[in-house]
Amino acid sequence: MNSKVLAVLASTTAIIVTVSLFSSCGKPEFDNQAEEANAAPVPYPGFRGQEFHGDKNFANLINSFSQGKAVPTPWAGYWWPYTQNGIAAGTYGAGLSPAGKYDAARGFTQAQRWEVENHGTKDPKVQGWWGHCNGWTAASALFPEPRQAVRVNGVTFEIADLKALLTEAAMETGADFYGERVDFGQDYNSPKYHDTVPDQVFLILTNYMGRLKQAVLLDRYTGDQVWNQPLAGYRFEYPKPADYLGADPRAPGVYRILLTLTLWWMRDDVAPGVQTPPFNFEDTDLVESRALKMELWVDAPIVFSPDGKVQSSGSVIVTRENDFFAGGAWRMGDGILVDAWPDYMWIPYSILKPTDYANYYVDINWIRDHLLVPGGRDDTSASPRPIDPAPSVRPSAFPSNWPNFPLPTNPPTSRPTGLPTWLPTPPPSEPTSRPTWAPTPGPAIPIPAPQPVPRPQPRPT
């Protein structure tokens, strides 16, 4: 059987076994959201960015912003997996959930019930990796970290509860995206797999985080899974003259230099009420990192001074023709990449009114007015009620056995694919680690051992 046939079979198989991320290009819908526009979106992070012009000059950027961090530091949090009922989980609140407390303080809302039905084990489609990482990531960048418990309408909201509610509110967020998300684990030749190029990553980090101290978010899983994390900081190793490659004769106007980048991001598998210490460009229990090697391209020669400083350079090149995005090259060696460059990066703008995804009952304006006030502010218009205990988790919900929603209509490309990203599912721990994707049911006969795949570090228990 030749490799083309194998590739086709692999693609067909991928359609069947990949229960991961479907195209975001399904049937669109018109969504005017007129009612939402009557109120200003929340929050507006001030006037950051005004009178600011982007810089593409490599010498300027590497000399002034070879490292940077977000100010304030995005906070560590928890991803509130659907398989534990999302923010209706009572695991961290002595049997009481953040959503249950919210309902009790407001009186009329049904956030806990909604959560179980839509972000929990009553959703028959739920998969083990589904959760709230995107909400936490956006919330950690848009809101200061809750630092103390508050009491509203007789209900005490611990820090974990406050973080959970902010996380839920930020599930639908207006944002600016760089790169599209990979839909299929084996679709390594999709433009979506290669649409964050080194030059773009360099410009985003140095301009947004280096110059503006703006939080930058990313999906750190290069393949099909979604692992949103907020970046705490980055550092480019200062290049040496030996790193300068000059121009390739086939493109005499494109000058190349090797760089090594370290990214640090906050973790979301930590205790929900954890407090985030200052970030110091090092790994901790709450911060983890990854090193990326790349070739950066600029449009004029890079000149080093005798003391090894980058004295002058051209501008960083980012351009595209059709689907081909040009701007440097990743130099990560051979092997399969699921833990390499970001799948996509994003900048959050504001919280949107829930439509089809965020908990309809969790109102960011109410949270802001009553829970984000030091000590809390009672809502005198509400009729508080007793806190309902958190519902139990349906054990059968994790993991589900098979996709029970339609298979994608746009199959992966039939171009040769890399190794599948089959990773063993770790045993549950507390707090719950994110499960890595494993096809179910498992193969009935022995299979060749896959090439080692870099995988996320084990989570602390």
Binding site: L6, T12, T13, V17, S24, G26, K27, P28, E29, F30, D31, N32, A37, Y44, R48, G49, E51, H53, G54, W130, T137, G174, A175, D176, F177, Y178, R181, Y188, V197, Q200, N207, Q214, V226, N228, R250, A251, P252, G253, V254, I317, T319, E321, F324, G327, A329, G333, D334, G335, I336, I347, Y349, D356, F405, P416, G418, P443, I445, P448, P450, Q451
Partner: protein
């Protein structure tokens, strides 16, 4: 064929094709270099005044048929995308692209200079087609455009604030969701351009409103421009000769269509 056999074939196919995934394949590397070189060449041509015989300052004359004049005005409908990209789910019904629609009125306030003119345009949010302003705090936006190469300044005027807030054209500000609407044109001189042969395909969420607005560009007198934004994301412009503004504009964050124009 059993699932197990499928799995075996799948694994073998991966093993057969697994090399060099981490580093760019030579073929792709060379193609990327060529594309980058062409970008460098276009930029160099602009700097030496050799942009295909069409200097930036002549673009407005060529496209609009005249220079902007105070009082020129037109209307635009724009959509800001709400991508589901970040959602930690695989449920198809929660991974649909949606958008927020809004209407804007453009009016030329002043023109300074001749061929190298600087044009100041006021943009206001309107309620055309029953649409609601996305950011009621902003009562007007001021665009200053040099030579139709790019809007060199964009200033938001917020209610109750005497001073406008100047923002970068390259780095979107997070101060207002209006930053995610495609309200200003990209630099055109270094754009790749081609005669239009097909009309833009609007996303389904935009089609009904576009139809109501009479969106029907005449391709025979239109030009496509393909440009990159500051971060290399695609920007597409369809401009019909005789129109004051692009008939269709698509950025990474949204689309905009021209629906009503009025000369001074």
């Amino acid at each position: 064929m059993s699932f197990g056999l499928f799995s075996v074939l799948f694994m073998f196919s991966g093993l057969a094709c697994s090399s060099a995934m981490a580093s760019m394949p030579e073929k792709d590397y060379l193609e990327a270099l060529r594309i980058a070189q062409r970008k460098v060449d276009r930029q160099a041509a602009l700097e030496t005044g050799q942009t295909g015989g069409a200097l930036s300052s002549s673009w407005i004359l060529r496209l609009y048929g005249k220079h902007y004049a105070p009082g020129d005005q037109w209307d635009v409908i724009a959509w800001s995308f709400r991508p589901p990209t970040m959602r930690m789910t695989g449920a198809p019904d929660q991974l649909r692209m949606t958008a927020q629609a809004a209407a804007f009125h453009y009016k030329v306030l002043s023109v300074n200079g001749g061929a190298h003119s600087s044009v100041t345009i006021e943009v206001t949010q309107t309620r055309n087609f029953g649409l609601t302003p996305p950011d009621p705090r902003v009562h007007r936006i001021k665009l200053t455009i040099e030579n139709l190469t790019a809007s060199t300044q964009k200033t938001y005027h917020f209610e109750g604030q005497p001073e406008g807030a100047l923002v970068s054209n390259e780095i979107p500000s997070t101060m207002t969701p209006l930053e995610l609407f495609p309200l200003n044109i990209p630099e055109l001189s270094t754009a790749r351009r081609e005669n239009a042969e097909k009309v833009p395909v609007l996303p389904e969420f935009a089609q009904d409103l576009a139809r109501k607005a009479g969106f029907s560009p005449q391709i025979t007198r239109a030009t496509w421009f393909h440009q990159d934004d500051f971060f290399g994301r695609p920007v597409e412009v369809l401009w019909e000769e005789g129109e004051p503004w692009p008939s269709f504009l698509r950025t990474a964050n949204g689309i905009a269509i021209l629906f009503r124009k009025e000369r001074s």
